[in-house]
């Protein structure tokens, strides 16, 4: 009808039948790199295609997958949650202390989750009621949580024998072969992580709250002018990320069987790296939960790869840093390209 409409119609036609979204490029790149890493590992060391490798990758890093999903939500809105690592510490210290005092595990777990809720809610209040930057708000809750954890105990606390936490870390063999390295093993922790991923996907793509999260990431003021409940959504986001951090703590604590006030130092950064590697734009608006899962897997596979290569452990962080750099540069390029199209 108008030149403008015709132009757009043409643009639409060009992409019809193949709905490719340039915003997915970073996420697709993450998948490709993950596969390349696996292929390389397999070609050089011959252990990366084994089911046992996958089993331990998922079992050992279920907590990171949960944290990555948790971190995806605030980052999608252009915010951040720096407190997740400290929430892991405080909840695990409290949980193990309670179990040591004879409290049944399921009560301890509920208390741990509630603690996560409280810290998430606190961050929400600071951000929404006191108009604080998410960075500052969660930085303060991070110090608060870490400080309380240290006040409770600075000792290494071990879960007592025969506690009911065990059910989470108990191996479930799906494929049992004579050689343990060919077994496919999971545990409840992995199942929890998978459920969290599904939860994250449904929240973001199947609910109006999820759409509001993306809208806030695009432009908070627009979202508000459109009448979307931006404030309530932000509360939900930090509540969910705090609670998921506590859940990650439950899974991790059950796995290692102990707790210490220094556990989880820097995990918020691992979670952020996973989210960024997975293709979520750090300024918000674009990104996928599944990307963050891939990011967490990429992040997790770097450790065995570098050690197999004989790279000193100290170097691992440099590799992680380089990877993040590459992904951010890539995202910049993609953003610039899609901006040009206009």
């Amino acid at each position: 009808m108008t030149t403008a409409t015709r132009k757009a119609a043409k643009a639409t036609k060009a992409t019809k039948g193949f709905s490719f979204n340039p915003q997915m490029i970073p996420t697709i790149t993450a998948v490709v790199i993950f596969i390349l890493m696996l292929v390389m590992g397999q070609a050089l060391f011959g252990t990366y295609a084994r089911l046992g490798f996958f089993s331990s990758l998922f079992v050992d890093h279920a907590y990171l997958i949960i944290l990555a999903v948790a971190m995806t939500l605030p980052i999608l809105t252009g915010g951040i949650d720096l407190s997740v690592g400290a929430i892991v510490a405080i909840t695990s210290v409290v949980g193990v202390k309670m179990t040591m005092a004879g409290v049944p595990a399921f009560v301890a777990i509920i208390v741990m989750l509630l603690l996560g809720v409280v810290f998430g809610l606190l961050a929400g209040v600071l951000i929404e009621e006191f108009n604080m930057q998410p960075f500052i708000a969660t930085l303060s809750t991070m110090f608060l949580a870490r400080g309380i954890a240290s006040m409770i105990s600075t000792d290494s606390l071990t879960l007592p024998e025969g506690n009911n936490f065990d059910f989470i870390s108990q191996d479930i063999k799906i494929i049992d072969r004579p050689k343990i390295s060919h077994d496919l093993t999971i545990n409840v922790g992995v199942i929890i992580a998978v459920l969290v991923v599904i939860f994250g996907y449904i929240l973001l793509h199947k609910t109006r709250t999820g759409r509001t999260i993306y809208a806030i990431g695009g432009s908070r003021s627009s979202a508000e002018l459109m009448g979307l409940p931006a404030k309530r959504t932000n509360y939900i986001i930090y509540l969910v990320s705090g609670t998921l951090a506590a859940l990650a703590s439950v899974v991790y604590t059950a796995n290692v069987g102990s707790a210490k006030n220094t556990v989880g130092v820097g995990w918020e950064l691992d979670a952020i790296s996973s989210v960024v590697i997975g293709g979520t734009l750090i300024t918000g608006g674009f990104g996928y939960v599944l990307g963050s899962v891939i990011g967490a897997l990429v992040r997790s596979i770097i450790d065995p790869l570098t050690s197999d290569f004989g790279v000193p452990a100290e170097w691992t962080t440099i590799v992680v840093g380089a990877m993040i750099l590459i992904f951010v540069v890539l995202q910049r390029a993609v953003t610039a390209l899609s901006g040009d199209k206009k």
Partner: protein, 514 residues
């Protein structure tokens, strides 16, 4: 028409901000099936009034009745629930989402398994079709369609919430003529379906073309509600600015053109200066004391040529740039400023003002940049500079310590002009200095342009309003499709029509450089 019942009745609306009464007992009635214009200068209280009706601001006194029900709005959601939808000047949609997602945000079709995307997109498609956008796939990213279409998408969104009142706040300010006509088509369609439309625009022609009734505000007060067809323009302008409308048309109308002395050196002389993809190589001389107008349609390269002169875009090799007879290379704004060339952007909000800084800081920032950050301007000197330009340019309110974002558009523009004048430029490039500002401020800025030229400064005046280009310029550079197609010396025989004819009659032979 008189027997119609208004759908919205706002009575005695008063809104106070600390120290200012933004609205003082203003009335507004909106009728279904009518387009209603809210008229007034910037600072008259139009946007405040709109924000009162959309629930952004809480009113201190007065009543709002929508569809017979008294309303207390505590946020935009309340207003939307009452059936009031708004399309703002800066389209408030989310560019990171698709067209369909934007239309349906908050109203997605849900099934037992959460959002049903298939049905949501189908619904979006229907709403888009109502806007004449049936060709757009709802899955297209919003960022890939033009601003004009984004505006229609925003209106489609209003249809989703089944709005009884649609507020269009300066929807036309970034549209070209065809797009405006498309918008009118949609507006008429929406109006005929019984929706009350509240329309705000600075273009009087548009008001007379599309509106039925209007309410005039001045200085936060209600002046009058009139029917558009019964109100001649000069009467309207008189009501808006409260002074004789003839004053405006007299500015520059004497057309006392300045003759260039033989042998006089131009301030700036460029030869074959261009940049691939933005503007084809141009020859141009600008003398001191003259106003050079750049005329052309949107996308003609008028802004691009201005940016090139200022070094905001780096020119391609092959051209020459002479400044008072000396060859220079102006490849960045810093060099330009050092060489006494200043450029005031067309994009006041994003590239011009720094919203949270005060008027004073905004005004001094360019001068400080030319001095270097290690040599602060002495306080006394700074005070004098700020006082001088605030007075000369009549910045309102005359308080240099107010954040600039709290000023009206026209006054922000004056501060920006002050910013560049403080650097004492020989050449001042003004890109759309009068866009989106009220008639009073417009007249003042036009007068400033002429005064500056009078004092010997070279002024480049870029505007999409041909009328003011013709009225103010000594020389008019006509641009079309990124080529300079003509240079017209202004005189009694030159009119807006001359420019329009030049643009429509010139065809650009491709492959050859203009």
């Amino acid at each position: 028409m008189t027997d119609k019942q208004p759908i919205v009745v706002m009575k005695g609306i008063t809104i106070e901000f600390p120290g200012v009464k933004a609205l003082d007992g203003v009335d507004l009635r909106l009728f279904p099936g009518e387009v209603h214009a809210l008229m007034g200068e910037n600072g008259a209280g139009k946007s405040t009034m709109i924000k009162a009706l959309t629930g952004v601001y809480k009113i201190n006194a007065g009543t709002i009745v929508v569809d017979g029900k008294p309303q207390q709005f505590n946020g935009t959601l309340d207003a939307q629930n009452a059936g009031i939808a708004t399309v703002y000047q800066e389209v408030n949609l989310c560019t990171n989402l698709t067209v369909g997602e934007n239309v349906m945000l908050g109203h997605e079709v849900r099934g037992p398994l959460g959002i049903n995307w298939k049905k949501t997109h189908e619904a979006a498609k229907q709403y888009l079709a109502q806007m004449g956008l049936e060709n757009i796939d709802p899955r297209t990213p919003l960022s890939s369609i033009s601003i004009a279409m984004q505006q229609l998408v925003a209106i489609a969104r209003a249809m989703v919430i089944d709005a009884k009142v649609l507020i269009l706040d300066e929807p036309t300010s970034s549209l070209d003529a065809n797009e405006v006509q498309d918008l009118y088509k949609i507006m008429r369609k929406v109006r005929d379906s019984g929706v009350a439309i509240l329309f705000v625009s600075h273009f009087l022609d548009q008001i007379y073309e599309i509106c039925d009734r209007m309410t005039i505000l001045r200085n936060g007060r209600f002046i009058k509600e009139v029917m558009v067809k019964d109100t001649p323009r000069n009467e309207l302008i008189g009501m808006m600015i409260g002074k004789s409308a003839e004053e405006l048309s007299q500015i520059g109308a004497k057309k006392a053109r300045r003759a260039v002395d033989a042998g006089e050196k131009p301030i700036v002389s460029i030869k074959q200066l261009g940049k691939k993809g933005t503007i084809n190589p141009v020859d141009l001389d600008i003398y001191g004391g003259e106003v050079v107008g750049f005329a052309g349609l949107l996308g003609s390269g008028r802004t691009e040529l201005g940016r090139l002169l200022y070094g905001a875009d780096k020119p391609d090799a092959g051209g020459s740039y002479e400044l008072k007879g000396k060859t220079v290379s102006i490849s960045d704004p810093y060099t330009a400023l050092k060489n006494k060339i200043a450029y005031s952007t067309e994009n006041r909000r994003d590239e011009g003002i720094i919203g949270d800084l005060t008027v004073r800081q905004n005004m001094l920032i360019a001068l400080q940049a030319t001095r270097g950050m290690l040599k602060p301007i002495p306080k006394k000197e700074a005070d004098e500079i700020v006082a001088k330009y605030m007075k000369e340019l009549n910045v309102q309110p005359p308080d240099p310590d107010r954040p600039i974002k709290n000023l009206s558009g026209g006054n922000q523009q004056k501060v920006l002009i002050g910013r560049w004048l403080a650097t004492h430029p020989d050449l001042l490039i003004l890109d759309e200095p009068t866009r989106g500002i009220d008639i009073g401020a417009k007249a003042e800025i036009q007068q400033v342009v002429l005064d500056l030229a009078e004092q010997g400064m070279g002024v480049v005046f870029i505007s999409s309003e041909l009328e003011e280009v013709v009225r103010l310029s000594d020389n008019i550079e006509v641009l079309k499709d990124r080529h300079k197609i003509a240079e017209i010396e202004n005189g009694d025989t030159v009119s807006q029509q001359t420019i329009v004819d030049t643009i429509s009659n010139t065809t650009i032979s491709t492959g050859k450089e203009a």
